[in-house]
């Protein structure tokens, strides 16, 4: 592949991530700073430890893992379906993961995570079953839309049948997406599955690059298409399912980030993967930082923030596409 003779996205994004991570553990809703860790006064040092290591750090890491999962899976799905509209939300994986988590809500944290991943994997199985192993892109997209609508309807039903308005309220707020006050317990739960998902997704790089000229050419180049689809779908189910389970439903990252970075990687679908992972992590962490910086009243939910920014951005992209020759 020809190298783009300008700044490469991967180092830039990595640098941005480092800056954002440092900012995220340095600033929060109080004035505790990393320097306080070394304070002479032991109480200040102890407080700083609690705040930075037990509160800000897990939150930061979870934002990175979630954002990375969303960006990466968005890029993979767009490359697989050869459609810039694809993202884990579109294929119904996020919706079923949310449903799984909501149903498991009252059985405690571990069940919520298990529910989320089960939902995600169920979505994967249903997708493969509905669309068939040898099905084309259109079938896959339609299956995803059907699955998504179904899951959203069932979630609405679950809210409707909630044992009390309080329970419905809790579920609704959780669904809006947040990484606030998440701890190392949440990380322990989600990280192995997320990393597994990343492994599966990154294995699709070569196949996605080959798909740039269509499925027939990709097949003739030796790519096993059903296996590629399986990797993409199960990888997405694992990392998005786990992320949704601990952070709720956060959208638009998987849609927006690959869009932003595609031209920068020379439109190479394979190369887009790592860039999108880094970009998604950076975007979500930046959004979370913004929320904490602005928070004067009740905290804005992360999913709401990404939707508020993501939807207009997407609309703008659509308008731009219309004007292009």
């Amino acid at each position: 592949m020809r190298r783009i003779p300008r700044l490469r996205p991967e180092p830039v994004l990595l640098g941005l991530l480092v800056v954002l991570t440092l900012a995220s553990i340095s600033f929060g809703t109080t004035s505790v700073r990393p320097a306080d860790l070394f304070a002479v006064e032991s109480t200040r040092a102890a407080l700083a430890w609690s705040v930075i290591v037990e509160i800000r750090l897990p939150r930061t890491l979870l934002a990175l893992l979630t954002g990375g999962s969303l960006g990466l899976s968005g890029a993979v799905l767009q490359g697989l379906l050869r459609n810039p509209l694809a993202d884990p939300g579109i294929l119904g994986i996020s919706a079923l993961a949310s449903l799984g988590a909501v149903l498991a809500f009252y059985f405690g944290l571990w069940s919520v995570a298990a529910g989320g991943v089960t939902g995600g994997l169920l979505a994967a199985l249903l997708l493969i079953g509905l669309a068939g192993r040898r099905a084309g892109t259109l079938t896959l997209l339609l299956a995803g839309v059907a699955l998504s609508s179904f899951a959203v309807a069932l979630t609405a039903l679950a809210l409707n049948l909630a044992p009390s308005p309080l329970a419905a309220y809790e579920m609704m707020f959780w669904l809006l997406g947040s990484v606030a006050d998440r701890s190392w317990s949440h990380l322990q739960l989600a990280t192995p599955l997320i990393l597994l998902g990343w492994g599966l997704l990154l294995a699709t790089r070569r196949g996605l690059t080959a798909l740039a000229l269509g499925e027939d050419v990709a097949h003739s180049l030796g790519i096993d298409l059903p296996r590629l689809r399986l990797l993409a779908i199960t990888g997405t189910a694992c990392c998005v399912g786990a992320a949704v389970a601990v952070a709720g439903s956060i959208g638009f990252v998987g849609l927006v980030v690959p869009h932003l970075l595609r031209a920068w990687v020379g439109h190479d679908p394979g190369r887009l993967l790592i860039a999108s992972g880094l970009g998604g992590a950076a975007l979500l962490l930046a959004a979370d930082l913004a929320i904490r910086a602005v928070a004067q009243g009740p905290e804005l939910k992360l999913g709401v923030a990404t939707a508020l920014v993501g939807a207009p951005f997407f609309l703008w992209q659509v308008l731009r596409m219309r004007e292009a020759p």
Binding site: V32, A46, S50, V51, L109
Partner: protein, 272 residues
């Protein structure tokens, strides 16, 4: 900011692996991060011991302890902010982020969770439990006794009255809800419960009218009471029968605390 030796010991304990601190002494730095918790905590605990409350505590629209909340620092409810108050007890409620309670406990801070009560018995249980956690069980009993006396002094009904809570959209409270228990205590027949509905259920207008209601109870957010009741009365079916309605401010029965007595009094007084 943190000077007390007790506090020093407590905060240092955070960096050791510690379970929740043994509750042998009454907490002295209480943070309440929930409206219902605020109302009870400010009513039960010594003023000096409450170091932070939620932003709602000072809002007279929803709080019954707005006066007491004046001057008390406010916290939005995130663990980072709560930690800054160096609490030894944090009272959370049903509407808090579940992760908050988990993280606080992980850090070795005692957490008391106030539940939602679906009966008067449960309300008593919540008050007792919170009073115990605050180290003032006798005040909890006193509050409960006062509530009982308040209920005893409600006007007696000399004939059966069928009533229902009825909101725009048909929402009502059936068997097994706090409202239902309140109706029973007052001596009203809950139409929604009688029709076999449990929990928060929708009550069809037909069923309501067929039961010949003597009183319809409506919730309102604020003092602009007429609007909700007005909406309902406008329905020809209800207007024709000239059914009595009473609007009860949300504030009075949002929480498991003594304000329920005032709600009951309003309703009992309105019964024909």
């Amino acid at each position: 900011m943190i000077r007390s030796p007790l506090l020093l010991r407590l905060v240092l304990g955070l960096i050791l692996i510690a379970g929740p601190a043994a509750a042998t002494e009454a907490p002295r730095r209480i943070v309440s991060a929930n409206l219902c918790a605020d109302r009870l905590v400010l009513a039960l605990a010594d003023p000096g011991r409450v170091v932070a409350v939620s932003p709602f505590a000072a809002d007279p629209l929803v709080s019954t302890v707005a006066e007491a909340a004046r001057g008390v620092p406010v916290t939005q409810g995130g663990v980072e902010q709560i930690l800054a108050f160096a609490p030894d007890l944090v009272v959370l409620g049903a509407f808090n982020n579940p992760a908050t309670g988990m993280l606080l406990e992980r850090l070795g801070i005692r957490v008391h969770r106030l539940g939602t009560a679906s009966s008067l018995e449960a309300v008593r249980g919540e008050i007792r439990a919170l009073a115990a956690a605050l180290g003032v069980p006798e005040r909890g009993e006193a509050m409960i006794a006062a509530m009982a006396a308040g209920f005893d002094h409600l006007p007696r009904l000399d004939h059966p009255v069928a009533a229902a809570i009825y909101q725009a959209g048909g929402w009502s409270a059936g068997r097994g809800t706090l409202a239902d228990d309140l109706f029973t205590r007052i001596g009203l027949t809950n139409i929604t419960a009688a029709s076999g509905r449990n929990g928060f259920a929708a009550l069809p207008l037909e069923t309501l009218v067929a039961a010949a209601p003597g009183l319809i109870v409506v919730e309102s957010m604020g003092e602009e009471a007429p609007s909700q009741a007005g909406e309902l009365l406008r329905h020809p079916v209800l207007a024709a029968r000239q059914v009595r309605t009473i609007t009860v401010p949300m504030r009075l029965w949002a929480c498991p605390d003594p304000a329920l007595v005032a709600a009951a009094a309003l309703i009992a007084a309105a019964a024909p």
